[in-house]
Symmetry: D2
Subunit: 344 residues, 4 copies
Amino acid sequence: MPVRVGILGATGAVGQRFIQLLDDHPTFELAAVTASESSAGKTYRDAAKWRVNTPIPDDVASMTVVETDPSSIPDDVDLLFSSLPSGVAAEVEPAFLEAGYVVSSNSSNDRMADDVPLTIPEINPGHLDLIEVQRDARGWDGALVKNPNCSTITMVPTLAALDQFGLESVRVSTLQAVSGAGYSGVTSMEIIDNAIPHIGGEEAKMETESRKLLGTFDGTEVDLHGMEVAASCNRIPTLDGHLENVFAETAADVSPEEAAAAMREYPGVDLPSSPDQLIHVFEAFGRPQPRMDRGRGDGMQISAGGLQATDAGLKYNCLAHNTIRGAAGASLLNGELLVEEGWV
Amino acid sequence: MPVRVGILGATGAVGQRFIQLLDDHPTFELAAVTASESSAGKTYRDAAKWRVNTPIPDDVASMTVVETDPSSIPDDVDLLFSSLPSGVAAEVEPAFLEAGYVVSSNSSNDRMADDVPLTIPEINPGHLDLIEVQRDARGWDGALVKNPNCSTITMVPTLAALDQFGLESVRVSTLQAVSGAGYSGVTSMEIIDNAIPHIGGEEAKMETESRKLLGTFDGTEVDLHGMEVAASCNRIPTLDGHLENVFAETAADVSPEEAAAAMREYPGVDLPSSPDQLIHVFEAFGRPQPRMDRGRGDGMQISAGGLQATDAGLKYNCLAHNTIRGAAGASLLNGELLVEEGWV
Amino acid sequence: MPVRVGILGATGAVGQRFIQLLDDHPTFELAAVTASESSAGKTYRDAAKWRVNTPIPDDVASMTVVETDPSSIPDDVDLLFSSLPSGVAAEVEPAFLEAGYVVSSNSSNDRMADDVPLTIPEINPGHLDLIEVQRDARGWDGALVKNPNCSTITMVPTLAALDQFGLESVRVSTLQAVSGAGYSGVTSMEIIDNAIPHIGGEEAKMETESRKLLGTFDGTEVDLHGMEVAASCNRIPTLDGHLENVFAETAADVSPEEAAAAMREYPGVDLPSSPDQLIHVFEAFGRPQPRMDRGRGDGMQISAGGLQATDAGLKYNCLAHNTIRGAAGASLLNGELLVEEGWV
Amino acid sequence: MPVRVGILGATGAVGQRFIQLLDDHPTFELAAVTASESSAGKTYRDAAKWRVNTPIPDDVASMTVVETDPSSIPDDVDLLFSSLPSGVAAEVEPAFLEAGYVVSSNSSNDRMADDVPLTIPEINPGHLDLIEVQRDARGWDGALVKNPNCSTITMVPTLAALDQFGLESVRVSTLQAVSGAGYSGVTSMEIIDNAIPHIGGEEAKMETESRKLLGTFDGTEVDLHGMEVAASCNRIPTLDGHLENVFAETAADVSPEEAAAAMREYPGVDLPSSPDQLIHVFEAFGRPQPRMDRGRGDGMQISAGGLQATDAGLKYNCLAHNTIRGAAGASLLNGELLVEEGWV
């Protein structure tokens, strides 16, 4: 029996990716699409300026968009995906939790809140149990689960693979695609023949979220991982796919070959949208590249390459599709895990 | 009285920049342009596929291109600028030195040779005295001086400014423009909507040249600076201007404000092509950007910005015009220093 | 004695170009900068998000921005340049005319109005006399003069040169730079690895404005030129410079060589901002190109090339810098003509 | 029973597309891949620098590349696809014909030869009978069939649909993707922030091939269509997908609506690689766009849009994927037609 799901903020760029990824999903059935008041009452086709390069699924095109309010959601919907702007999400997500909904949210608010699980199914599925703490603390029946920022999720699987060697310090520099800023986030005048350093807020997200994801959950709270993380985040003229240069130092010595093996062998999960192998490691230098490799594993696989020893540790590159694995796909996978673990 | 100069490899991309920069130069007068055998005998206009966006100076256009051989150079030429491919340079530069010419070379061969000064006039002018060692060792009257690679020269002035605090470790990630690979070095199919990690050879250059530039010359040899340097070099779809993210650790604590002050106050030199201030430091985050800032100081100024403290040190961004400060302009400035110091 | 001028809408993209072009102008002195109510009272430096790649002139940076209202303009200002959004211009330009100001406007409203001169100084300076008709009709002391749209002005000088052969039909296809849509007009997600046909409103402007510019003024009204014009306008991922493919049919036979000669010999004007030669014609095919040629004549020269005979006439390419010759520079040149002809 | 096929020039850009398109083909089975002497004997994986963004099919990766010579082709291969450079093709294609092979060739040589069918299955399948003339003339058992140039094939289906109204004159301006010049054909320095008019040779191909494709075959020769065609061809910074602006004049009046209907109703063919509908016509202006629409019908559908009346006829835009419908896919479809019609 399919799980009926809804999308909060369904007309935006990430909302459109949700719709694309939910099309022909084996267990989820889309039953509600919400947007702002001005779009409510319109068909989805009329409300959304569709920009994904596959057509709108016919059944979604004719759905009526409803307001982003618990009272607008059909009773048989069990799981909501949220791609609301973080300011809006901070206001309306509590109402959905109070009304008992399980919300898998891509919005950046509350990611570092003590009682909100920030999860990647392959990395820290056990953090989902923080939902118990959350329910106790807030007195609600619903549940709020977050996935990390697109720049964080690109790097963390490779760090998780290396943590067996004792991660002490990470420096990371990102080359991020324009889609990460939303459809209208970066103007063409800003970025053609250019690059923009210091993407606002992005560096702090990478520096904190990564330590929560790799932190230890003792049943009550998540103890942040002790590694030092410093990030520099840059926007470049690329459509999709964040490429990152990582410099990592570990307590134990680790060769590039050992590091590559650890990445390749890092276990995946068995969920409908998870890739067969979590991390693909290129032998050849010069890879991964955004346009060539963002589509691996239908946009859900992490790529790594260029592993080399430095005087103090390792350097390597990693890459993920920022609007699939880094946004809608990340929330979707969390949703699949929530079902698998019986939270929905 | 002007110094008469020549350009070895005058028809290539860097050669064209030399011609542009020498036009109306206050002390240098272009008297010879060399190229490969197939171009010798043609006018420069016919031999060069001119791609710089200012017209060929009329007097240069009508000059006859000669072979890259000491016998082809007029007797009254005192100084040669070299932008030969490094393989060719390795073969022919010795012949020019033996013939007594002073050569300021942008070619990458011999940059790390024990008896070859690798200099940036504002950073290590004293290394020029290595010419004495070179002449003793090789028994030649000429002199060979090198400037560093474009990615190295972008970062080193900022490191020089920080070295008063005791540089211990540097990690740097680059976002490099396509012009750094030469006119045909990067195809459009490779780079549109893409980025390419691990530019061949570039990382090793940054890791070694920077330590020589900041090394100590004791009259006999250059002792490399002891800092650890690890570089990851990426090509992005930008025409000119290398942007770099630096993570630096120093023995002494240094705040972003102190670091910015040290950069701003780092002394320049008084040569015709040097900028008024060596390093411009932006207050606002989000700068420097390649297209906006590569032209500062006629392409000879270094820009920096985004200075922030990390757990272990500092992070910041820097930028330079890779084909001016990073190539032809660097050799030109070395040539001006050679004249100023009496070597020509 | 300098003419004191003001800029209406000085903080936008075209306004910034006006300021850049007026810096060190031989006869104009900038005395007033206006913007919307929210900017009034601020210094220009604080009010404008400066994006031109030369610094804000110091004297302008410290000027106080005033509201776009005649009462805000100092009494000794004689000439105003307008780069207001056309909706705003349609509302406020009449107030300035009524108050007696001469306004040289780049805004698109009223370009085809019967009593408004639409002029390019080199093409139809005589149309300025329509000001008499305008003053009679409207009972005002001021004067409103318009320059054409950037896509129109790129093509019309070449057509003017060919009209001696009797222009009958023109088909033109444009490859337009993103700056033509304003700083935020085209998002990076829309245009990277893409092109957009049918720029809204642009095709109609080219089809009508060109016929007015080449029309005949009999002292009372402008009789539109009888040629048929059909335009297809496309946006491409280029920063500045509109490239256009023209197919022209003339009553008399004309060879590519005769057409090239007619373009080269087309007379210029002697105004401070006009180029030495109005149209530069390339011999070699493959030119003009936007990035290589938009800067010719400080952005005020038209380039043409690729002239060939077709079965029915001629085909060729032309190019102009869309935000200089196609916007701020066009208004500025009209202002210089207004002074020269005694209207200011 | 599958038809066994080979690819001449299998390692190049178009060769790679052939391999991608033949993977899982319902009736063709790849049995031979040829390349230049230096690649012969290697596995395909080692010989080809694979750049398509799907992996090399495993069975092809391990195939041994053979020399481009009839003696290297297994006896049971019946049909060859050629993506050889035209100079090479002109030399070696005759040898394959003499040896009795049927060759469906994308190479540009001989497209306008009197006895060579130039075909698009949906447009002029009857021209295939020119093979009889070819065999008579050359005395060979084989057959050579060509598909048109990528810029031609983008436009011709729309013209075919309009020819019922009596095409008299066509002017067309193209915005062509860089992949049309081959992987290394356009450097990044040439095209970033730029456009290049007058692609060498392309304009003549459009002007002649279109008239042959729409010409009349009387059993002996093809009488070229009488319409006048003038083309201007431009390269823009787009990866794949040629966008074209067409201005067409017809003997009979035709409204945009009638033209759109004629395009939509233009019949397709029933071959494995043909799209369900040959031409998709957009209602909304602003489409088709290369990145959004090149993938329609797996890259085999033609898109059109922006139909409007001009004083003298119609203007509209059309688009096709230049390396699929415009190259490898075009040859493949011709191969499917050759089988269907019994020539193989």
